[in-house]
């Protein structure tokens, strides 16, 4: 995998956009998912994920091929997501009310045509609730929780992505877990 990516990066450095497209294809779902779970909104997630890949392309010459490519792209996407969260702080509470409701909106559109089994409705509602609770976490806890439990990365990889000591990552995960425990225990 690393060998394949390094080959592609060499081609991208020469201006090969097909090689770049292959790299985008390979990572788009992971990066989109990270942005979506950080931001709770499909349009914002798409916007930020696209921006992350454009930055990869623009800055490909500064990428150190001795390092892991996925760590680099995850770092760019995480930082962009956190910047976006901080920028929308003033209307944070308003956003939190409506954020993460894509599934429900989707459901209400569907429901007029087909009656959905109750169990499926419940499953969608549960997912929405969980997403909303993740969005309530302060960004420094939200990022580690998403990277750990949704992207399923190791503590070491998360430390490298966030450029933090592993101990700090663990502390943030502990606090994030405690916050989620209180928020989700009634479910």
């Amino acid at each position: 995998m690393e060998e394949f990516i390094n080959k592609k990066i060499k081609q991208i450095k020469k201006g090969d956009q097909n090689a770049f497209a292959e790299v985008v294809e390979l990572y788009k779902d992971k990066i989109f998912q990270l942005c979506y779970r950080m931001l709770g909104n499909v349009h914002e997630a798409e916007d930020i994920a696209q921006e992350a890949f454009i930055r990869v392309y623009m800055n490909i010459h500064s990428f150190d091929m001795n390092k892991k490519f996925s760590t680099w792209i995850y770092r760019i996407a995480t930082n962009l997501s956190i910047d976006r969260i901080r920028k929308k702080k003033p209307d944070y509470y308003l956003d939190a009310e409506v954020a993460g409701t894509d599934g429900l909106t989707m459901y209400s559109q569907v429901s007029s045509d087909i009656a959905m089994p109750e169990k499926e409705v419940e499953a969608i509602e549960l997912q929405e609730t969980i997403q909303k609770e993740i969005l309530k976490l302060p960004d420094k806890y939200r990022s580690v929780i998403v990277l750990r439990y949704i992207e399923e990365l190791s503590l070491q990889e998360i430390a490298e992505i966030l450029e933090l000591p592993v101990g700090t990552v663990k502390t943030r995960i502990h606090r994030g877990r405690e916050a989620l425990r209180k928020q989700l225990r009634h479910l």
Binding site: R37, V42, Q127, Y149, L184
Partner: protein
Amino acid sequence: MKCPKHVVEMIHKYLDGDLHEDEGRELKKHLQSCEDCKAHYQELEKAVAFVKSISHVEAPADFTQKVLEKLPKEKRTVSTRR
């Protein structure tokens, strides 16, 4: 009786796979006898399971195309020009 703070710390170490064998035995023993700590542990496990359970999302179908369209124009023409 209030449980020592280090029990919660041990639970987190356990969840991170960092707990030593002897600590594991100590934690297990404590959880068997303490309802509060047992509930705390179960709630943490439940929270993690919930987060892990939210289904994976995929990027929109035209994602790659849209990214390519946003790349700087002058660089795009270099590769296509004869």
